[in-house]
Symmetry: C2
């Protein structure tokens, strides 16, 4: 009797152990797996599922879901143009964006075609991306004219063409010379309609911010044109993807647009001040900075190629 008990016990025990171990592995691994693949992706080891998407000259990598998590995807729209510091700026941005979960970078070049430099850069960046281009007509490239209007609209057009109401997302306009903390993205991720927060080093002040009372935006702390309906910089707000999709005509405008009014003109089309959602501890923390990079002095650059090799900068 006793020996039967022991033999059964020794047969059952290991099977129970196996079940426990397998359950243990599955729960623990799934939490680190995303992190690891994410981290290694910076080394270019993750094969992105790149697809030629459609005739609109769109190149995109992987879909909107990814990772199987239910976090909304952050779509960061970055207009960019060819200049000496372009690759440096994109390098800094990618170094930041690589650490943001469920992130999709929409890079829109101001050019007639997608450049080799940006294409190669994005392919090696380790960030999920879509690469677009649209050329700004020369007549719009004057001082005092709003900048990057066509590029931002191209990105909005891509979202409306490639995302549906089933997709969960938050749209943010991430200019290529600003400085972004990682906390900023976690703040904006919960945007239900339109979120706002302070921006550092803008408008001739240390910061600008929405003034908040009882959880509602009631005014603007700004040093410049306080009469703007939304006295906020492009880096100071994010919009839920559903709002972008359900307002298909909301765009950045050239016609009648005054300098510095792009943000206000756009936000007027999709929301009201009283509906804004204040983030960053009721708009009391600066998590993004409107930094500007100096134009590079190339005074000693030789007129003709002097070096024996061509080097991309």
């Amino acid at each position: 009797m006793k020996s039967i008990f022991y033999s059964r016990f020794f047969i059952l025990l290991p099977w129970i152990l196996i079940v426990i171990i397998v359950i243990d592995i599955d729960t623990k691994r799934s939490s680190v797996r995303n992190t690891a693949s994410f981290y290694f992706s910076r080394m270019g080891n993750v094969q992105q599922q790149q697809q030629q998407q459609d005739a609109r000259a769109t190149r995109t990598s992987s879909g909107s879901g990814g990772n199987g998590t239910s976090l909304p995807v952050i779509y960061a729209i970055t207009p960019t143009y060819s200049r000496a510091v372009q690759k440096a700026e994109l390098t800094r941005l990618a170094n930041t964006f690589r650490q943001v979960q469920q992130f999709h970078w929409i890079v829109v070049e101001d050019s007639n075609s997608r450049t080799e430099l940006v294409s190669r850069f994005l392919a090696r960046s380790g960030v999920r991306y879509t690469h677009l281009n649209v050329f700004t007509p020369r007549r719009f490239k004057r001082t005092g004219m709003p900048r990057a209007t066509e590029q931002r609209n191209a990105a909005l057009g891509w979202l409306r063409g490639h995302r549906t109401s089933k997709d969960k997302g938050v749209v943010f306009f991430a200019d290529d010379d600003n400085t972004y903390s990682l906390e900023l993205f976690e703040e904006m991720r919960s945007t239900r309609k339109v979120s706002v927060w302070p921006v550092g080093l803008v408008g001739g002040r240390r910061y600008e911010r929405p003034l908040v009372e009882k959880g509602k935006v009631v005014g603007w702390y700004t040093g410049w044109r306080a009469d703007r309906p939304f006295a906020i910089d492009m880096a100071g707000f994010s919009v839920n993807l559903h709002v972008i999709l359900s307002n298909p005509r909301a765009l950045f405008k050239r016609r009648g647009a005054k300098p510095g009014m792009q943000e206000s003109d756009f936000l007027k089309q999709i929301t009201k001040v009283e509906d804004l959602e204040p983030k960053a501890h009721n708009c009391t923390q600066v998590l993004v900075w409107h930094t500007r990079t100096e134009k590079v002095n190339l005074g000693n650059e030789p007129k003709r190629q002097q070096d024996s090799v061509f080097i991309e900068v």
Copy 2:
């Protein structure tokens, strides 16, 4: 006979399975564990072993070894000073450095004491660091004078006081406004004595670089003072920790130092041109850019506090 065989088989099989599974977990987990703890450290979840080190007003976090890997530690020395863009610049740097394995950031403030802003920032940065400070006498703060001499020397002094020949490391001077790719750190990690590579957007050119023939540096491609023994920017070289320790008198000099000669004066003390190790594909790739951030216009900043709260920028 047959039943005995079956019973033994069913007793042994699960034990074999358990052994296989346990071996499998151990090998797979150890490779992702470092990554995961590293990634989560950016959220401030990793408790750094911070110690008040000594009377030299040094604050450091954890030792030199860490992680149990045998990779040399990269010691990046960053002089910094209080200004409107300081926190933004440090944010961008931390976002990059956080992704470099076995990294130790030595931040040296130009101030009489360690500021609250930088202390708080570093504590939340998720990067292993040492926070020092030394004030540059006012007489040295003139145009044309070399900058950050005292801060770099303080960092070298700290390394000589806190590291021994048993520690494996590579020392790099990482100014707070440059742009660094992650590849740069993997290139410099194998530095045996002194490594060199190209730097973008410097000396009035798209790039400067060491000219390499048969794996040796034979000259300099530069647009400015090509007569310098080492015509290279501060961001263009790294030094093995042993070289720093075995040349205890090698320092950046004030006395007799000409503008732009800091790098050359320092390198002359520790190496010869023919001993330099070219990195970045024989110095044909730009992996670091000498970007400059514009001074912020604070023209609209009110003279007296107008906002109802104080906000750090």
